[in-house]
Each structure stands twice: as C-alpha cells, then as structure tokens.
Amino acid sequence: MDTFINISSSVFLLTGSFLCISGGVGILRFPDFYTRMHAVGVTETLATAMILIGLMLHNPDFFVDIKLMIILIMSLFISPTASHALASAAMRNDFSQKNNEKPDSEQVKPWNP
C-alpha cells in the first residue's frame, strides 16, 4: 500500500512538473500573445492541481491534506479566471492587431508590454 501511494504521488508530481515546464516552453516559443497565454493558462491549472494532489498523497497529516484541498479548490477557481481576465483585457485593447503588424522576426521575441 505504501509503495503504491508513493509511486502514484511521484507520478502526479512528475506530471505536474512536466506540465509546468511545457507551459514555460510554450510561453517562450509560441508566436503571438494569445497562443502564449493559452499555453500557460491551460497547463498551469492542471499542473497546480497535479502537484497539489501529489503532495496530498505524500502527506499523512489530515489537516495538511484539508489545507491543500482548499488551496486546490481556490486555484481551480482563480487561475482560469485570471487567464480569462488577461485575454479579455487584451481583446478590449485590440492587442491582436498591434501584434500582427509586427514583422516575423520580432514575433519570436518574448512579449514585452
């Protein structure tokens, strides 16, 4: 039983870390603002959830589990909302047009507001 819990918690933690890193690669490599935001916004939620579940499995203390659960629920609410706010603010300020006017060579650079 112990080994099963250990293995599953490591799997969760590793998956979470991989998603974090892939989000980071996405923000560096994707061409324009919206795809970058998509990369981070989608992976971040899942990665946080995975890491928190991994930590929950790892920890025997019941109260710590409850606290991690609350953090998990909060982050499931907050991070999609934050991505939504960012994207809608960019939409409202017509960010897409500005970005598309740039020549191709500049698009590879990280976004500098």
């Binding site: 909060m74 609410f77 939504h84």
Partner: protein, 354 residues
Amino acid sequence: MESLIDIVLLAFLVGIAFAIVWMKDLLAVIMLLGIYGLLSASFFVAMDAVDVAFTEASVGAGISTLLMLVTIAMTGRSEHPVRHKPFLALAVVIITGSLLIYGTLDMPYFGSAQAPVHQHVAPRYINDSIEEVGVPNIVTSVLASYRAFDTFGEVVVIFTAGMGVLALLSVVRRPKNTTGDKARDIAKIDLINDSMHEQHLVLRIVTKMLIPFIFLYAFYVQFHGDYGPGGGFQAGVIFASAIFLYAMLFGMSTARRVINQSFIQLLAAIGVLLYGSVGVVSLLNGKNFFDYSALSVDPIAGQHLGILLIELGVGCTVASVMVIIFFSFADRKDNGQNLESNGIENNLKENNKK
C-alpha cells in the same frame, strides 16, 4: 540542494532588479516588483522565516502592487525620459556600496552561532518564551509581548501614513453629486453597474464567490497568529485586499456605498487606541507598560489576552489605513477626469447605435 535553491532565487532577484531599473513601462515595472516580492518571500521560506515570508508575500507581492497600480492609473503608464548625466549619483552609489561591503568584512560569518545576535537576547526568547508568554509561535511572542513597544511604534507609523495620505489627497468629493438628488445618483450608479456587468461577468461572479473566503482567511490569520505564522499585519492586509477586489470590480461608487468612509477612519484610530490602552491598563495595574501579565490573575492568561487585543488593534489599523489610502487615490483619479462614468456612457451610446 538548499544552497542551489538559494543561488537560483538570488540570481532571479538580481535579474529582476536590473529589469526593473531598465524598463520604461511602469505597468511592467509594477508586475516585476510583485514578482520580486514573491521571490523574496520564497527566499525567506527557504531560510525558515515563515512569518517574514508571509508578511512579504501579502505586503510586497500583494497590496503594494495593487496600490501602485491605482497610482499609475492616475499618473500614466510610461516613464518620462530624463536627460541628465547620472555620473555624480553613480559615484556616490559606488562609494557608499563599497564602504558597506567593506563594513561587512568585520561581521561574523553568515549563519555563525557565535554571532552577537544569537548570543544576546535570542537564547532567552527561545528557552523561556513558552513559560513566560505561553505562545507556541516565538515570533508572535517576541513581536507582541517582548517587543510590544516597537510594534506599537510600527502601528503608529502606519496610522500616521494613513493620516498623511488623507491630509494630502482628500478633497471635497464632487460637490455636484452631493448637492444633486440622491435618486439620480443611485440611478447613475446602477447604469454604470449594468454596463460593467456585461464586461466583467465572469470576474464578478468568481469574485463574489471568493470574497467570503478571503475574509474568512483573514480572520483565521488574525486569530491563529499565536499558533502559526500570521498576525495582525498580515490579516489586515488580506482583509483590505478583499475590499480592494470588490471596489475594482464593482466600481468605486458602489464600494463607497458599501463602506462608510468615516467609519473606516474611526476604525483606524480605534486600532491604535486599543493597542495603546492595553499598555496603559497594564501600567495602571502596577506593572510595566505592555506587561500583559497584569491583565489577569494568571500571568499566562493575561499574556494571551494582551496579545489577542493588540493583534486586533494592529489588524484594525492596518486594514483601515490600507482602505483609506486606496480610496483616497481612487477618489483623486475620479475627481481628475471622471473617466469611469463618461467612458461607460460613451460605450452605451455606441452600443445603442449598433
């Protein structure tokens, strides 16, 4: 492994500091300052200073970012280019910096147990605080009991800052509105509200769900400070940030209807008064200023009561001063151009045309 984490965090801090100096876009600078605060908080956690990390995360990364955002909403987003030759300033900075580094050469080795800091009063705090004060969190017992006078000074400083902002920025608020009839005001607020409702629907609903939990968390931090990291300062800041969130998403006019300004100002003063009067009560009972064992027959119970009361005072003052500062800044902005209502009326007109 731990030193690797330290190196990475410190390298990030240095990189962000340089980026802050170079950037001209103030919004990006503020975001970087928030990241800087969060990284220093992680650094403090790595050094096992959880209370300091908590304060840094809530103040440095949280509320000061919000206050600076409100400020650049008033002042504009880009830095003015300054044409001057900073050689004199550079020379002064280099000389001072090298003198400071020269000064550190005499200091004891980092983390050394023989350092004077670890020999002076720290052993007494670590060994005796659980018997003298009876609070598991040593940081709270130092901050609220042994060093209560210093903390009182800090609270007075925060209170004074709030009063200073009020004295500098408070203006007679829109005489037009106060003389006009109230029903029209409320109708106008409702109009603004409705038009914002479409734009911020998702944000508003999620915020409505989250705000009670933020308040609950603030109370938890406030009253759990004896047993874990936390206390009045952090709780006050978290409490105020929930109010900021409400004001940002539901409009200043709605927030002003919900939160009574004069009550908030009164609360800021009451916090300091509560803190100070705990000291005076212990003085009148024949003990030293802020010696809480005078508050009850059992000295430990007295200490608990005293810490609870002064943390409450700190929380009240910090929360209400933050709210005062935020509201004065936002009022100032509204008064300057009344953008909020004008912009939205224009939006409505455009929508009607469509």
